[in-house]
Structure formats: structure tokens, C-alpha cells
Amino acid sequence: MKRRNFIKQTAAAGSLIGLGGLSMSNLSTSEKKHITILHTNDVHSHIEPFPLNDPKYANQGGVARRLTVINKIRTENPNTLLLDAGDIFQGTPYFNFYGGELEFKLMSMLGYDAATLGNHDFDNGVDGLYAQIPHAKFELLSANYDFTNTIMDGHTKPYRVFIKDGIKIGVFGIGIELDGLVNKRMYKETKYLNPIEITQDITQKLRQEEQCDLVICLSHLGFDYGDKTIISDQILAQKTEGIDLIIGGHTHTFLDKPVIAQNKAGQFVLINQVGWGGINLGRVDFYLDSSKNLEHSSTVFAI
């Protein structure tokens, strides 16, 4: 017996006293849930659609169009989360002129719930990032950057649990090693912690303590490298457990549909990434059921 089922059924039944007459299947049929995850990565300050003379992406993307798409999906399913996997900054003069202010303001207007940090989000240094914090009405999530000795200390969280229609969705952020990608003068005393170790700790916490039903990792590690010694989303998926979906970035990989990887415990993990520049919006729909109902069945991937 699950508490949530109990409470909901009791409330619905009004004066119902006791539950002796209700079988388990009765309890669960009405308990199906639908959560929609929308996501972007590596938008790189592409506020307007790509210019008409762009050789590859002419007239694609654009924040104003993105909101139209998001609003339509939110009308279909209000239980929607909007997430970004980093590299919000750098790529058009909007960043050079306004330092990321417009990017953060627009993401707030679009109702982003959370984002993680990419290497380019340090392009104006930790100070430049800090200066834009007041414009972000969404969570900046980073579990493996230790900002303790920087001005960013206290302005990110390792994870955040969102509750939509009673479903607990744990979202955490993982960043790429900055050394070699970003000038030390920019990231200063930011410490990079091992993504695999941190992920193990966080997923454990999200599953056990926070009792999350879904766990999503916002990662800026990059999709896959031929070199197995470089930690990618593929490696992270394989070497950890407890993640349902990795929303990736950094490698600007265009995936038509999420890739299915297998984790340490033999369970499936989805990895998705939707290119860059706001050309696409990723959408993943989770249909959930009481775990009791699903004990002997496996998840169907309609992808």
C-alpha cells in the first residue's frame, strides 16, 4: 500500500471509511501520470533566428518561436518541465554587448525551471556569471563544480526536486572539466569534481532520501568521445545508476531521438541532445504508473 494512493482515494471517496473493499488494481488504474520534459542545450546566445544568409541553419531557431512551441505543449500538458543543459552564453553579439543579461531574462520569461552550466557560461568569468544571477528566475544546477572559494558560492544548487501532479522529479547538473577549455583567470577557484562519483551520491540521495520518481541529469559533458578515458554522457550512463534521462550538451550533437544506454545495474537510461543554437526543442514524455503495477513489467520505449 502506498500513502499517496491511500490519501487520494480517501479524499475522492469522501466519507469512505476504511479501504477494505478496494482492491489494489482499483486503486491504481486512476493513478497514471503524464510528465513532459522539454529541453534545449548550447543555445549560445541565439536569441533571434539564424540569419537568412546562414549556409546551414538559415531562418531556424529563435526564442520568440520557441515560446510559441512551449506554450502549445504546456496547454496540452501543464505538468511540463523546461530545462537547459548549458552553454547559454556566447555566440552572438547579444552576449558581447549585454553579458548574458538578455539570455537569462528571456529564459525566465519562457519559464525555464532549471539549467546547468556549460564551459562557455564562464566566458566572462565567474564574476560575469555572478553579475547575471539577478536576471535568472530559474535554478542553476551544478553538482560537480565546487564554487566555495568563488563569488558564485551559494548561487547554484547541486539538485532540485520538482513536484508535478504529485510526481517527484529530481533534476541535477553535471559540468565538464574546465581546465583546458576555459582560461583559469575566468573560472578562478572553481573546483571540478569527478562526475561519476558525484552522480552516484546524488542519485542515491534523490532516490532514497528525496524519494524521487524520476531522475534527470542535465549534463554538459558531451555525448560520446571515441576516447573511453574522457567522461561523456555515454560513460556517465554506463557507470552510474538511478538516472532516467540525461539531457546532454557541449558536443552540439543532433539526435533525432534519445539514445538508449544501459546503466551499471542493467537498467535503461535515455540520453538526448538536440544540436545547438535553439534550432530544436527536445521533448520527452514520461507516462508513469504506480510502481506496484509495474513490478513485473518493463518500460515501453515508444521512440
Partner: protein, 240 residues
Amino acid sequence: MLLIIGCKQQQYKPERIQAELVPVDINIKSDTTITSFIAPYKLSVDKAMDSVLAYAPNSLTKKDSKFNTAIGNMMADAVFELANPIFKKRTGYPFNAVLLNYGGIRSPLNQGDITTRAAFQLMPFENEVVVVELSGYQMKEMFTYLSHGTAHPISNMQIILNKDGSLQKGTIQGHDIIDNETYFVATSDYLQKGGDNMTFLEKPISILPLDYKIRNLLIDYFKKKDTIAPVRDNRFIKEN
């Protein structure tokens, strides 16, 4: 009674997962609250970006020629001309040469007015000029690397390849490389950190960042010169 709640297992599991890639393209109407919010920002960015810095009598692209290109020569020579006074002021002596990368020429320079926007397109990244001190051995490694033939922009160096593509000679400011001599080469922080596999830049004898973005340097160069009409020359050639 039924409240056996202590158990800490999760309550819901995904039974079905569906995914879709949603293109954000011309078929989607723009949300007008967003476009009007962007408008004032766009206006001032456009105004600044459209300011004219110089004039180009001809269009230049990195595909115009092999081994060295007019546009690449212009970029490397610009670094030599504008970064050297800064280096000299800090150290008391000038650097010897410049090495950039072919991939770093991010767009053509079109015939007509050269605007700030053109400088941003040519160099969209935030790369900065750094000067590395290289040993004679590292210089030779550089020439071996360059002998592969990609038209990486250089200034104050010359490379001549034999007919068969092997390295005939590499010189710096007209001189052969001396093994136990050191040389000062200006490059970008991106390449210094091993970008484009230029590993000979990774462990220089000394390094001095100039805090000068290459894009800003180009903007300053365009402002300084009225007309931008560089040429291909014989700084990097292959014998016929």
C-alpha cells in the same frame, strides 16, 4: 490498519516513454511579447554592429589560394603590427613571428564596407593573443606541423615545401632556426592550449598573455587602416 508507510521505495515508475524532436523553424509564429521585449536590445546591437570600420575593394576568403591566403596574411600581419607594441612595452623587446590557425578564419570578408559585424563574423570567439617563447626544437616541430600544407596564417616566417611536399626550409624573420636559440611567437590562447593539435605550443619556455582579444585587435586594425586589400605572397609556398 493500512498505513504501512515506513517503506522508502519510490511510488511511480515510467511505464511508457515517448520522445520527439520539435523543430523551431519558419512554420512557427513568433511570440510577440518576446519579439517586442528583444526589440530595444536588437536596435542598439544592430546600430553598433553596422558601424563602418574600413573598406574592402575585393572579397576575400580562406579558400582563395593554397598554403597562404590574403585574408589569413592580413590577420597574422594585423597581430604582428598591433600586438607587438604591447609585448614590447611589457618586455622591452619585440616578438618574432605570428602563428594563427586556418580554422580560426570563421567567415569571408566581403567586398564593400567592413563593419563591426564583419569583425564579429570573422572572429566570433573570445580568443586572446598570447606570446610563447619556443626553443629551436619546438620551432622545428612547428615547421614540421605546418609542412602538412594547411594554410595556417603566419607572419614573419617563411616555409618552402619541396615538390614532393616535404619541408625544404622554414625561417623566422629571414633566419634559419638555431637549436639553442629561443623565439617569441604570438598566437591565440586556444592554440597554445593544444587547439588544432598544435602540441608544440603546449609547453613553451615562457608564456605571456597580452589580454588582447583577437576580435578587438581586428576591429582596431580595421579602424587604423582605411582600406583592407591584402595579397597572397610567398611566405608559405610549394615549389613547382
